[in-house]
């Protein structure tokens, strides 16, 4: 009786308390790797702040531009947002339409291949997009810019004078749009394909056309996913560097004119163009602009993830 009584207790306790050395090391290693990632993210912020302190505390006259870091970064933030917003306005409807095409319109057999073709757009390096934007897209838009100046010149966006090289804010925005298209369409595709089959079939059974089915059963379900995807695309567009640096002809200043050759630069492109030839306080100022960019993208991405994750909680798909 006693032996029966004590044995299980003995076997019970050690089973929980004694983990082999290997077990403890491995658990520690993998937890450590997870914590390291959080440390790195915190480190990005910390080191950027540390290196930009010089510029923040420097007298305004010594900062490039001569009016302090805030007025240096202001036009850059404007340019960054302008390019990203153009990209978003173009890419979101297109991305959603492509996602609908692949999930509900394309023949089932080739749908996966078509999706792969769109994903291919994401694989192309940003510097190559810059090359293409400069050599192919910009020249082919020049006639359109001339036409827009003549016929739509009353709008502030097309006030002109139209660029003869095509290296304008609109071109840069379009290149960015193509670059973020795969992100938006990938996430929209995912949420659209998860729309409850029962709702879709019910709509079709009531005699809805395919579009009415999508309008009733798919779009309401996928709305927050699309919003989240668009914001992730926005985050990517805000931080894109080389494509903008190569395509955009920069002169600084704030203007809404999208088709002229004098454009505000973006934060990322400005860093890429200035950093290699900078030293001292200039470097510190550029790192400060990088910090601003980091904060903006971090905020956008966190908001986007929040929106996407909230949908995941409610969807019941997992």
């Amino acid at each position: 009786m006693t032996s029966l009584d004590t044995k299980p207790r003995k076997a019970d306790k050690p089973a929980r308390a004694v983990r082999s050395a290997g077990d403890r090391t491995f658990a520690g290693l993998s937890t450590g790797a997870g914590i390291l990632i959080l440390v790195v993210l915190a480190g990005v912020a910390a080191f950027l702040i540390a290196e930009s302190l010089d510029a923040i505390s420097a007298p305004a006259a010594e900062v490039p531009g001569g009016e302090g870091v805030w007025s240096y970064v202001g036009p850059l933030v404007f340019g960054t947002l302008l390019a990203a917003v153009i990209a978003l306005l173009v890419a979101t409807p297109l991305g959603v339409a492509i996602a609908l095409f692949i999930t509900y319109y394309a023949p089932k057999r080739i749908a996966a291949t078509l999706g792969y073709l769109i994903d291919l757009l994401a694989a192309i390096p940003s510097v190559v997009y810059g090359f293409w934007g400069l050599a192919a897209l910009a020249p082919s838009l020049v006639p359109f810019y001339a036409w827009a100046e003549r016929n739509l010149g009353f709008l502030p966006f097309f006030a002109g004078p139209a660029s003869v090289t095509g290296r304008t804010m609109l071109t840069a925005g379009l290149v960015l749009a193509i670059m973020i298209l795969p992100i938006i369409s990938a996430i929209s595709r995912e949420v659209f394909s998860q729309a409850p089959a029962l709702h879709r079939e019910a709509a079709l059974a009531l005699g809805a056309t395919r579009w009415e089915m999508i309008k009733m059963a798919v779009l309401p379900y996928g709305k927050s996913g699309v919003i989240g995807g668009a914001m992730l695309g926005l985050g990517r567009a805000l931080g894109e560097t080389l494509a903008v640096a190569i395509v955009l002809s920069v002169s600084g200043g704030i203007t809404f004119d999208l088709i002229s050759s004098s454009n505000p630069s973006t934060i990322a492109a400005n860093i890429a163009l200035q950093f290699p030839e900078s030293s001292g306080l200039d470097v510190s100022t550029l790192i400060f602009t990088g910090l601003v960019l980091f904060v903006i993208t971090l905020a956008v991405n966190m908001l986007a993830r929040y929106v996407v994750n909230r949908r995941a909680d409610f969807s019941g798909a997992n």
């Binding site: 492509i98 940003s126 190559v128 990517r236």
Partner: protein
Amino acid sequence: MSTATPVRPEAPEPLAPAVRQRRGLPRFGGTAVFAAGLALAAVLTAASGWSWGLFAVLGIVLGCLVTYVVSRVVEGRRKATDRLVTALVSSAFAVAMVPLVSLIYTVVSNGVGRLDGTFFSNSMVGVVGEGGGAYHAIMGTLIITALAAVISVPVGLLAAIYLVEYGKGRLKKVLTFFVDVMTGIPSIVAGLFAYALFAIFFGPGIRFGLGGAVALSVLMIPVVVRSSEEVLKLVPNELREASYALGVSKWRTILKVVVPTAIAGLGTSVTLAIARVIGETAPLLVIVGITAATNFDPFDGRMATLPVYAYYQLTQPGVPPEFGIERAWTAALVLIIIVMALNVVARLISRFFAPKTGR
């Protein structure tokens, strides 16, 4: 019930023919009508001087318009809207294919000229004008990317294992969230981070290959974590439970059962992560710089990398410029080939090393 039937015998009569004779376009009628609109656009474009851009815009507008109008007249409003959306959505896909095709065509046609032996065997030392190659840049890219992979893969895999096997509570939630957020860090910020980090230790103006590897790791780790996590989640729980039931400890279960089962997917995810960072330019521009000579030592001095090489050959081609620009396009072409090859390899890995099931 039986009395009800003779009361309204005519009632279904007018309905049935209406249903049977409902007018509609024949199969592929929508496509044909859209094509008619496209042809109309071609005629109009040709009349006002041919241009592909005008044709595309006019084609889509007229195609959709003609489809809608014809369908509206023949089939009614609801069907017409449906066909209009079908036309729009299909056009959107076609529009997205235009830049892909145009980009590949532009890069290949511009870059194929210098795709020769010299390009792969020479560096840029002492090259003014013609000749020269990207040997140093290709080696630099390989070294820095390999170093980045050496840093990122263990950290990324371990973190993914933590998330799937060990993680619980708040740390797991926080980590999942911030890994997702980290995938959105702009690449240039990663470069600035590496610069800021090493400038504190080695003084301002620091440029060296390892810094580039660190910057790329910041971009690569979250990608590895995210995709490996998805793969590890796919390993059936029965396998783990069977292993525990045999008395195998947790870490040996992970190493001997979970990871080998998922190895194909892990290989794919690592390859895709490498493909994602190998074309990164901005961080390397900031922290690695550029040089004309071959430098195999990532711990000392500037290195050339393929994307940065391409960028500088295009923006500072030297005199006369055409040779530098030619080299730039060839470098871009080589870069695309490498990235595409990595994507294909990733697919092959998942196809050939997938766990054998069913026996």
